[in-house]
């Protein structure tokens, strides 16, 4: 086990990294891989990664080892600072990484046909490859810095894929919205990482949560700081998993192609926040207040999403809120300390939802088949909610408006006013009248 595990572990991470390198470099040098070769590359990478992860799981089961750290050493090391690269194979990361490879492989195979001859075929698959790398890195991360790197890869690829159909303004606008929420989430995670680094001098999970295998770790962070770190992690998780109050980006993200919707918002990406909370679950044991906060946010999200899902008029939005209901329940389970249940819930929900999302484009066909089979129309389902609840659900809980009015608008107003003042000040210095934009005499190729 000791002799083979480092190679297997490295292979699991190296394969998606190589995939990004090959696909990205080919495009950057103006020689994008043809569709067939690109698909083969992806298949090879996913199958190799999956097999390596499965062999690792088998070895762990055979030898009874529950915690296999893979040390790749210090990526950067200077006095008082280390960027340590370490991956952990344990009862949390192994199922999650297997789920990642399994669903990404399924969706990759689906996308090969679904995206066939699409002008952005290569662009889609570059983002897809970055996503796989991000998911695998986040799942297996053994240090907070490594986790953060993977977390950012997932965020970027998600935003780019939401805006995939970039000739229309709506997907792009929604892509920017998703990116903005993700940046808030990233900032919270980065701050948590910095605080942990300061408290323990390390971002290593073993130093922060003890050497015991998941979920038996114990928080090694001082009790006063536990809540601060936990709250930052909860904020990061809320942004990534679209928990209340960040839920409104999830249906917006459905602008992307169906395969990306399936893996991102149905199966994997939307569970990443829950995964983060599971990884740091020993912190919840150390702070009852934090635990209550997690339960409350999970509960509110589940109730909100359940109500909202009932009035959606398009299948992908309905599925996205259905996903969110389950994610809210998973977060509640984590808060209640039911960690294995939460993990199993993630695995099951991810698989079911991927299937539903991939079948979504054929929904009408499915309905027709069913109606033909039973010989009559399917019963139409009423929303079954009261008028106020209906309005609340139709407006998606007014969360978009709340965030826009009370967070984004004051910030934008402040900076626009400052910009205006600056322009006036510069105009005064110049001795001219302030203008919003200057006319230029620059020539261009088009001129």
């Amino acid at each position: 086990m000791d002799s083979i595990a480092p190679y297997l572990g490295t292979l699991v991470v190296a394969v998606p990294a190589l995939l990004v390198l090959v696909v990205g470099a080919a495009s950057l040098f103006g020689r994008p891989l043809p569709e067939r070769k690109l698909t083969r590359c992806i298949q090879f990478a996913i199958v190799t990664g999956l097999l390596a992860a499965l062999v690792m799981l088998a070895l762990m089961l055979i030898t009874g080892t529950r915690h296999v750290p893979i040390e790749l050493g210090d990526w950067v090391s200077i006095p008082h600072y280390h960027f340590h690269i370490k991956f952990i194979f344990d009862r949390l990361s192994v199922p999650f990484v297997i789920l990642t490879f399994l669903l990404c492989g399924t969706v990759g195979a689906f996308a090969a046909n679904y995206m066939h001859r699409e002008p952005g075929f290569t662009r889609f698959h570059i983002s897809y490859a970055i996503f796989v790398l991000g998911m695998v890195t986040t799942s297996l991360a053994g240090t907070i810095e490594t986790l953060f790197a993977g977390w950012e890869f997932v965020g970027l690829s998600s935003a780019l894929l939401v805006a995939f159909f970039h000739e229309r303004p709506a997907p792009v606008r929604n892509g920017l919205r998703v990116w903005a929420v993700y940046r808030v989430s990233d900032a919270a995670l980065l701050l948590a990482a910095v605080v942990m680094h300061h408290l323990r001098g390390h971002g290593d999970f073993d130093q922060l949560l003890g050497n015991a295998s998941w979920p038996e770790g114990v928080s090694h962070i001082e009790s006063g700081a536990t809540f601060v770190v936990g709250a930052l992690l909860l904020l990061a998780a809320a942004g990534k998993s679209a928990l209340v109050p960040f839920s409104s980006w999830l249906p917006r993200a459905m602008e992307g192609p169906t395969p990306s919707s399936a893996i991102f918002y149905g199966a994997l990406s939307v569970h990443l926040g829950a995964f983060l909370l599971l990884r740091f679950s020993p912190l919840l044991d150390a702070s009852p207040a934090l635990r209550v906060a997690v339960i409350v946010i999970g509960l509110i999200t589940a109730v909100f999403a359940a109500i909202t899902a009932r009035v959606q008029s398009d299948i992908k939005s309905a599925l996205s809120y259905a996903s969110l209901t389950q994610v809210g329940l998973i977060v509640m389970e984590i808060g209640l300390g039911l960690r294995y249940l939460a993990l199993i819930h993630i695995l099951g929900h991810g698989c079911v939802r991927t299937l539903q999302f991939l079948r979504a484009p054929a929904l009408l066909q499915d309905y027709r088949t069913l109606e033909n089979a039973i010989g009559k129309k399917l019963p139409s389902r009423s929303a079954g909610v009261r008028e106020w609840a209906y309005r609340f659900a139709l407006e998606r809980g007014y969360l978009d408006i709340l965030l826009d009015e009370y967070i984004a608008r004051p910030v934008i107003w402040f900076f626009k006013k400052s910009d205006d003042l600056e322009r006036r000040y510069v105009a005064w210095l110049r001795g001219s009248v302030a203008a919003t934009t200057d006319k230029r005499d620059d020539a261009s190729l088009e001129d």
Binding site: W75, H80, H198, V426, D442, S444, L445
Partner: protein, 503 residues
């Protein structure tokens, strides 16, 4: 170290690096054909780049904190070492030269007539000379001279020079006054605020720290993009801090003023989000990132300084690249505003990729050159400013949003119809790929760059007199230290023990 004992490089590489662009300036100023002038400028800039790169490698090979030229002609003339390179400047010189080479290389025919190659060569020579100059009055003189090329360009373009002149006059005046006071107080162990504050104000103006930053946005709006980029991106203001202010200013003054830089980085990040003009967007983004470099330098802690120096290199490379990308976009589509979706991706996909890569590289996205540097910077800043250090993270988040917003507005959201091909040419392709390789290469293999920055940071701290040292940040008691930290301390102790032997 006594001046005569400063180790020598194997060749007069520093002087050659400064001389080549100067010769180029003289030669191309006589040329009438802009295309010929561009080619000659490119050749001279490339020679200078070669010299700085070899000098850097030679410096690493010597393993010394400071080195000057072999056959030091300028040194002989002045009777002292005027030009030398140290751990801070050695890696920056090739980056600055590269920026000039790429700017010259990627100047399209549409820009070639209004972009002065002769002044660009003069500016390159002055920039390199400033970063190599070890004599304080020399640095002040060169920084003063460097303000002239943009002024002449603004004048030749018929633009208002008042904003630029007011700020640069204040910068030069305060710098000369401040350093004169420092010279008068040369025997005092600690200089008075009367000497330090004017110097500080001068470098803050030059660096564009709020509220003295308006000259920077004005310059970007009115000068050619290339000139504004080359004048600001090397961060001469930061060099003035390292060379003139850090050796004499008390830690508490530096850290207090660091707070102003910190606020500037957040403010400029927010301003970048609301801009409707692509040049103003870039200038605020640049301001935000360059302020982060200053925050690191002014933290006067080893980690903060290391982070600041790392981000400095990434700003030169990544933001320089982003500026070149925007310049290439302007060359094709004219003045671009951020008020509507442009949909340029289909015409210039390589520029779109380069925009995203350089933009995200500048804000420290994983896998790019700025990632680890930004992490170190945040760590160092939070150590010095525990309550407000988080503002660095907010600034980075705002900058990230601003970049992706600009990317979407410029390259996506609609279909741009054009009757002529707007593809990227070979010269631009070379520039883009060079930048991409450096940004990604630096991201995958960050250790050499970080080690150099760490070494330079240690030397900066060592060069400060003990009376100026700020209060040491709180460290954990010995029994709570992790094995890695203990190793660090042992390593440091070993370094201190062996230092006299090495030097």
């Amino acid at each position: 170290m006594p001046e005569l004992l400063i180790p020598e490089l194997h060749l007069p590489l520093i002087e050659l690096a400064i001389l080549f662009p100067l010769l180029g300036a003289i030669l191309v100023s006589r040329m009438r054909q802009p295309e010929t002038a561009r080619r000659w400028s490119l050749a001279f800039a490339a020679l200078s780049l070669l010299s700085t790169t070899i000098a850097w490698q030679d410096f690493i090979g010597l393993g010394v904190p400071l080195a000057h030229d072999h056959w030091d002609v300028v040194g002989e003339m002045f009777g002292r070492n005027v030009f030398a390179i140290d751990s801070v400047t050695a890696p920056l010189l090739p980056l600055i030269s590269l920026l000039y080479v790429l700017t010259t290389l990627a100047t399209l025919r549409t820009k070639i007539r209004r972009f002065s190659f002769a002044w660009t060569m003069v500016s390159m020579s002055l920039s390199l000379a400033t970063f190599c100059c070890q004599h304080e009055w020399g640095v002040i003189g060169l920084l003063t001279l460097a303000t002239l090329p943009p002024y002449f360009e603004l004048q030749s373009r018929g633009k208002s020079t008042r904003v630029y002149v007011i700020h640069m006059a204040a910068f030069v005046g305060l710098m000369i006054f401040g350093w004169a006071c420092v010279c008068i107080e040369s025997k005092a162990p600690v200089h008075s605020l009367f000497a330090i504050l004017p110097l500080f104000l001068a470098v803050l103006i030059r660096s564009g720290v709020a509220p003295t930053h308006v000259w920077l946005t004005d310059l970007y709006e009115n000068a050619t993009f290339g000139t504004a980029l080359l004048f600001t991106t090397p961060l001469s203001g930061a060099y003035a801090i390292v060379h003139l202010v850090l050796p004499i200013a008390p830690g508490w003054v530096l850290q207090s003023i660091g707070l102003v830089s910190l606020l500037t980085s957040v403010y400029a990040g927010g301003m970048a989000i609301v801009q409707t003009d692509v040049r103003r967007f870039f200038s605020y983004l640049f301001l935000s990132q360059s302020s982060l470099v200053l925050v690191g330098l002014e933290s006067v802690s080893h980690i903060g300084l290391t982070g600041g120096l790392c981000v400095w290199a990434s700003v030169v490379l990544a933001l320089g690249g982003l500026g070149l990308t925007l310049r290439a976009v302007e060359s094709r589509f004219g003045h671009v505003t951020l008020t509507q979706y442009r949909g340029l991706y289909e015409h210039v996909p390589l520029l779109a990729v380069c925009f995203l890569l350089t933009g995200l590289g500048s804000v420290g996205f994983p896998g790019t050159i700025g990632f680890v540097g930004t992490e170190i910077l945040i760590d160092g800043v939070v150590e010095v400013y525990p309550h407000v250090g988080a503002a660095v993270v907010i600034a980075a988040a705002l900058n990230g949003i601003a970049i992706v917003r600009a990317y979407f507005l410029l390259f996506t959201g609609s279909k741009h119809a054009s009757s002529i091909p707007l593809n990227v040419g070979l010269a631009e392709k070379i520039a883009v790929l060079t930048l991409a390789l450096l940004i990604l290469g630096g991201g995958f293999l960050p250790q050499p760059g970080i080690s150099m920055s760490s070494k330079a940071a240690a030397e900066i701290i060592q060069a400060r007199p003990a009376v100026l040292a700020p209060e040491e940040p709180h460290h954990e008691p010995e029994e709570e230290q992790s094995p890695h930290e203990r190793e660090d301390h042992e390593q440091e102790a070993h370094e201190v023990e062996t230092a006299p032997a090495q030097h």
